[in-house]
Amino acid sequence: MTENEIKAKLKEFICSTLGVEPDVLDYDTELFGENAIGLDSVDSLEIIAFVDGEYGIDMTGVGKEHFFNIDSIAAYITENK
């Protein structure tokens, strides 16, 4: 699976499970924080569980910079595959 395919899958998950509208979510959109699209810490757990289940990559305890946007999550998955 290419990094772009991972990004597409992450976007699909975030939209379908976390209720984010697809048109406000680009791969470089900030996910968490004041200027972000409003995801919270529980949503980050959802993403961690999704990445674990889908790719077998453990993101527990990983620095929050890796959760900045879809690009950074996909990069982490690719680097740790």
């Binding site: 529980v42 757990l45 959802e46 569980a49 674990d52 289940g53 077998g56 453990d58 527990t60």
Partner: protein
């Protein structure tokens, strides 16, 4: 079939929990750190009773080892329904005689180990939106017993983490509770002199020590769907010591 992991299950309360949960129909992972032979005996007993499970050697104070254990269990059985965080140690001493290595070991096993296992098990439970975590606490988490400052502190931490994790994980269908036993007939109590035992018994209104099977019964009920509206609670079962 539901799958339960019981840490520190080769002896005492953990052993009783593993056997009881197998009787309840769980496939049981008997975690142990050093007592392979005793863990094998627990598995043999479970199998003799028609149950199923496996033994798994893992020091729960080692995060990498815990991650591997949870991954392996999930891979083998496809799910984790129940975690009983039980592995722990007691190193009693008065403050001025406190050995810092003992302090570190108690914190590593009794607190960090619980966090490691809860985090990794919850990660798998998240996926299915269901699961139960039961933390073995102690009446010492609330009572001030001289010489037990370290053990009490670790169990106080377990009680607090139980409440907070229940809040964090509740919306995901995961319940978190703790059981706080008093004096239970385990190797530790059995090793005491008759005089010491009598001294302890005087503090117990029921005037007897509890049995590991009685603790296991509470764990069994807390894990069951019948108790599905209970979360974030510390269930004290101490024969009345704390009254």
């Amino acid at each position: 079939m539901k799958v339960a992991i019981v840490t520190g299950a080769s002896r005492g309360i953990g052993r009783a929990c593993a056997i009881r949960l197998a009787e309840d129909g769980y496939t049981v992972v008997i975690n142990y750190s050093r007592s392979a032979e005793e863990a094998d005996k627990v598995l043999e007993q479970i199998k003799a009773g028609g149950g199923d499970g496996m033994t798994y050697c893992c020091d729960v104070s080692d995060l990498a080892a815990v991650k591997q254990m949870i991954r392996d269990v999930d891979k083998t059985y496809g799910q984790i329904d129940l975690l009983v965080n039980n592995a722990g140690i007691v190193r009693d001493n008065f403050l001025l005689a406190l050995n810092m290595e003992d302090l570190d070991r108690c914190m590593d096993l009794n607190v960090k180990g619980y966090f490691y296992c809860a985090q990794q098990a919850a990660l798998k439970m998240f996926r299915r939106r269901q699961g139960v975590i039961i933390n073995m606490s102690s009446v010492s988490g609330e009572l001030a017993l001289a010489g037990q400052s370290v053990y009490s502190a670790t169990k106080g931490a377990v009680n607090s983490m139980t409440r907070v994790l229940a809040k964090e994980l509740g919306a995901k269908g995961i319940r978190v509770n703790a059981v706080a036993p008093g004096f239970i007939e385990t190797e530790m109590i059995n090793a005491l002199s008759d005089e010491k035992k009598e001294e302890y018994l005087k503090t117990v209104p029921l005037h007897r020590f509890g049995k590991a099977e009685e603790v296991a019964a509470v764990v069994s009920r807390l894990a069951s769907d019948e108790f599905s509206y209970i979360t974030g609670q510390v269930i004290t079962m101490d024969g009345g010591i704390s009254l």
